[in-house]
Each structure stands twice: as structure tokens, then as C-alpha cells.
Symmetry: C2
């Protein structure tokens, strides 16, 4: 457990395995060595003293004391759920945290508590601000969740880059190419070489629109919470010069604050959209989170496939 207590190790393991089960290996076991390396080098604090500051019944500020990101975010979302249950709306800002894996993991917890939720986090430099040729914003996911009136949570968990950085990392690790039009090399030329893309710049969705959304997430999760921002979040894989001090911001809301029949309204909304005429080759119109949930269900009954390079890494960690 590399110095983590049982509870913290268990939260972290759960988040990592969840990433494998939803087939997001970029956020799963391929990161285990990195987390252990950072604990060893005292950049992640295995015994954090996490401080809560109650601003109001709705609003809480958390100083995670460089805990592993999973633990900080897990505590944070639980607080945001508690606040919204009490007052209708919850707002939790977290500073001195680290990479917390998939936002959807935390959003799901709020949705299971019948809440609408936003999760914001910043990340190491990957995207160039519109007009610049140097990367500065992280892929800065926007995550939004709501109960869907079924047992499948509606969870949009989208980076504002054309492709997740984790996917490029995995491609680089196992020697695969990346799609066209998602990244430039360090000289500003389009590339399908994953390693060159990592050294270069990722492209945001919709040009200035995606760049603006990345900036918004940096402000919400970094500037506002007291976390690092403006390109100061260190790359957890490459930069061991200090802790990441990532910030997260969670907003939670009761679904039925305004319309008492939220459950039937969201059911109708999804039903209408699912019934639309489909483009050729599409079997079903899916809401965000639906295919992730289907993968999770399917993979729960199967063994997890781990690439050789990552298996070797994990075996070494156990020695």
C-alpha cells in the first residue's frame, strides 16, 4: 500500500479498477507506477492531514495536504453530496490535491444520491491557449451528471481536447498511432505519432471555443480553489520537482428544486432523443455515460486485460 492507510489504498484501488472496467486504461493501472513513484519521492503524502473549512451549510473548502487525488476527491464529493442534501446546493473547492483519475467516478456518487453534479479539475499543460503556440491548459475535463430515471447514470465526462491525453500516453507506451487532427508536434505540424504529440500541443475542440472552456476550468478548479493554475500543474509522469497541487471544484444540486416532476421530465427528454431518426450504421442513440456503463457491466464478469509492459511495471512494484 506504499504507506497509504487501508481506507485510502482501498479508495485508490477502487478508482483505478473502475477505470479499467469502463475501458479507460489510460486512467487505470497504467498510472499505478507513477502514483507509487510520487509517494516514494514524497510528492504525494500517504498520511495527509486533510483540513475542512466550513464556509456555510452549502459551501466547504478542503485543503487536501497533498493527499493522493483519489482520496481528496472522494472526500470532496461526499461533502458536496452532504451539503446539497441539506440545503439544495453544494459547492466544494479542494486545493493541494493531485490527479484524481476519471471525473465520472465522483460524479456517479452524486448521481446515485439523486443529485445533479458538476466536477471540474485542471491538469498538466497539454493545450495551447488560442493564439499561442505553447501548451499551457490541461485537457481540463468538464463533467456533468444527472439521474436518468433508469439505473444508468447520465454522465458527460469530456475533456475539451479533441482526444484525452491519457489515450495518447497509452498509444505512446504500446506503440500505436493516434488519429489525424488531434495534435501538433513541437514545431506546430500535424502529427499521428503519439510521442511527438506528447512533446507538442493537443488541439482543443472548436478552436477558440475549446480553448475558452479549458481556461474556464483552469479558473474554477485552480484560481478559485487556491490550487495551481496558469500552467503550473506539474506533469505527474515527468516532473518530480514538487507536488502537483491540483484543484477540484464540485457543484451539486437537488434535481427537484424547481420542477417537482424532474424524474418524469428527464425520462421524457431521453425518450424523445432516443426515438430520433438515426444516421446509417447507428443502432441506438446513446446518452452520455451509457456506453461506459455497458462496458462496466460487461467487464465485471471478465478478467481485466493488462498489456505486458504494464504487467511488468506492477510486478516490480510488488517486489
Amino acid at each position: 500500500m506504499h504507506g497509504l492507510n487501508y481506507n485510502h489504498a482501498s479508495i485508490s484501488a477502487d478508482a483505478l479498477i473502475n477505470a479499467e472496467l469502463v475501458e479507460a486504461p489510460s486512467h487505470g493501472l497504467s498510472r499505478l507506477k507513477m502514483y507509487c513513484d510520487r509517494i516514494k519521492k514524497k510528492l504525494i503524502n500517504p498520511k495527509p492531514k486533510i483540513k475542512f473549512k466550513k464556509i456555510s451549510n452549502s459551501i466547504t473548502h478542503i485543503d487536501a495536504n497533498n493527499s493522493i487525488g483519489f482520496v481528496a476527491a472522494n472526500i470532496g464529493i461526499k461533502q458536496a453530496i452532504k451539503n446539497a442534501k441539506k440545503t439544495g446546493i453544494g459547492l466544494v473547492g479542494i486545493k493541494n490535491s493531485g490527479h484524481y483519475g476519471l471525473s465520472s467516478y465522483y460524479a456517479e456518487q452524486a448521481v446515485k444520491n439523486n443529485l445533479i453534479v458538476f466536477c471540474f479539475t485542471n491538469a498538466p499543460p497539454a493545450i495551447a491557449p488560442h493564439g499561442s503556440k505553447k501548451r499551457l491548459f490541461g485537457t481540463n475535463p468538464i463533467c456533468f451528471g444527472t439521474p436518468s430515471s433508469t439505473n444508468v447514470p447520465f454522465i458527460l465526462d469530456t475533456s475539451v481536447s479533441m482526444i484525452n491525453r491519457g489515450k495518447i500516453r497509452v498509444a505512446a507506451k504500446i506503440g500505436k498511432k493516434i488519429p489525424k487532427g488531434v495534435a501538433l508536434d513541437k514545431n506546430g505540424k500535424p502529427t499521428v505519432d503519439a510521442k511527438k504529440a506528447l512533446a507538442g500541443v493537443q488541439l482543443p475542440i472548436g478552436g477558440f471555443r475549446g480553448s475558452g472552456l479549458a481556461w474556464m476550468v483552469d479558473i474554477l478548479s485552480g484560481v478559485m480553489t487556491g490550487g495551481n493554475h496558469g500552467g503550473k500543474v506539474k506533469d505527474p509522469f515527468d516532473d518530480f520537482s514538487g507536488p502537483q497541487n491540483i484543484g477540484h471544484l464540485f457543484i451539486t444540486m437537488k434535481t427537484n428544486l424547481f420542477a417537482k416532476d424532474y424524474r418524469s421530465r428527464i425520462k421524457k427528454n431521453i425518450k424523445i432523443i432516443k426515438k430520433l431518426p438515426k444516421i446509417n450504421g447507428v443502432k441506438e442513440i446513446l446518452f452520455p455515460g451509457q456506453s461506459k456503463f455497458a462496458r462496466y457491466k460487461k467487464n465485471l464478469k471478465k478478467d481485466i486485460y493488462i498489456p505486458k509492459t504494464i504487467k511488468l511495471e506492477i510486478e516490480k512494484l510488488l517486489n
Copy 2:
């Protein structure tokens, strides 16, 4: 004033002129005839009885009674500002409203009150949900604002389509072409013909990502507030079969809830980004809202140019 009282007419005129001053004519005087037509046909209520329901000191629900959207949104943002000033966070849901023009107009008011703000609104069908060939989501803007530590508000006001629908409308009206890659005709073929694009489908930013963001905005502003959703918002120009019943959702937050030095933090954030190396031909890296503000300042001293067709429309309205 077409039946609107002085105060409501003044709010509406101010919002329309503001759109012209920031050079967003698609949201300016080109819509005046449409608003008047809808009032005449009793689809906009010139004498609305707007009802407030206080859920808590932070949360308010507003039934706009089919008022003109400008008035509903203006009252709503003022309430959201009041709530956040009192408790740190404000949440206002509005139903039975109409097209409210530019989100930035309302976000600016919150920013001038030193608040961070989200404005969400849905809109008539324009974008096809990912996997479908029929348009259903509006261009559903995401608007985010924060004080920038200068007198220029940081305001990201971005539709989740590749191009604003209003721009396509203006292009159709004055016979201009639209850019490639932003729309399909009704047969699903790419088009640069504005009229064909209006009859077809607009493309979202980043494929499924933009489609998911549009769905999120539909849920927040429609499903949650009690407004129309799921493609039921009527096109204000073409559909006179009933009121629009658009919903809006505003979230406001004090900037310094977590970091007391927010002002210096955002100043530093913007400074770092502005100093990045620029791509060829770019004079300055601008934050969202900066060029809009510059246009506003410049145009305040100039006459507003009105295309002939729109001038004729307005002259007829005055008779």
C-alpha cells in the same frame, strides 16, 4: 413599445443595442420585427405577472409568465446576484421565458458585482444529437464570467455549435455564404448555403463532446427549470403556434470563497497566458470577452450600421 411598459421596453432596447455595439447583429435589431410579431400574436406577454418562489436564501425559481426573454433574464440575473451576495452562492431557475439575446449581457452584470457566473439557456432545434440525423438541440450557449482584475470582464459566451445560428440567419438574410464544415443541408450533405443550412443541421464542436454539452444545457435550462426541452422550444422566427417557454439557469458565486486573494490570482493567471509565445500573425493573446469589450468601446463613439432590409423592417414597425 408594442404594449411593453417603459421599464421592460427599456431593458429590451438596451439588450438589443448592446448586441449591435459588440457587433453581434444576429442578436440585435435584426430580431426586433420577430419580437414585435410575437407580441402582436400574443406569444410574448407584454404585461407579464412574473412570479418569484424563494426556495432558500441562495435559490429562487422564477415563472416569467411568457414575458419577453430580456426582461425575465434581467430580473433573474439580478436575483442571482442578490442571492450570491447574501450567501456566497446563488442559483436561479427561470421558466416560461423567451429568447433572451446574448448571455454575455447578463453575465456581465454579475461580473460587475464581483461574482463568478454561469448562464445557461436552451434554444430552438439546430444541432442533431450524436448518432441522429435530425436536429433537436439548440445551439445552447455555455456562458461563464469572472472579474479579470481589470475593467474588462472575462466572459466566455460560446455556443456548442461550430458557428452561432444567428450568424447563419444574418447570412441568409443578406445573401452571404457561411464557412465550410459548420453545417449540413437537410439531406446530410455539407453546405455553405446559409438557407440550406437553416433547413438542415448545424455541426457541434468536437462531435459527441459538443453534442453532450448541448444535451447538458438542455437539461439544466429546460428539464430542471420547468421550461421546454427535448426539441420543444419553438423557433421564434418560424413557429407562431405557441409561446417558446424557454428556460434559463443562472449560477453565481463570490470570487473569494476559497482563496482570499482571488483578484491577484486571476490577474497572475491572465498575465502568464498573455506572455506565451504567439503563433504567426497574432498580435495579442486575448481572454474571452476582451475583443467583444474592445468592439463595444469603439462602437460607442460611432453610428450603428443597419443593413437596408433590416432598416426597412424597422421603419414598417414604426408606422
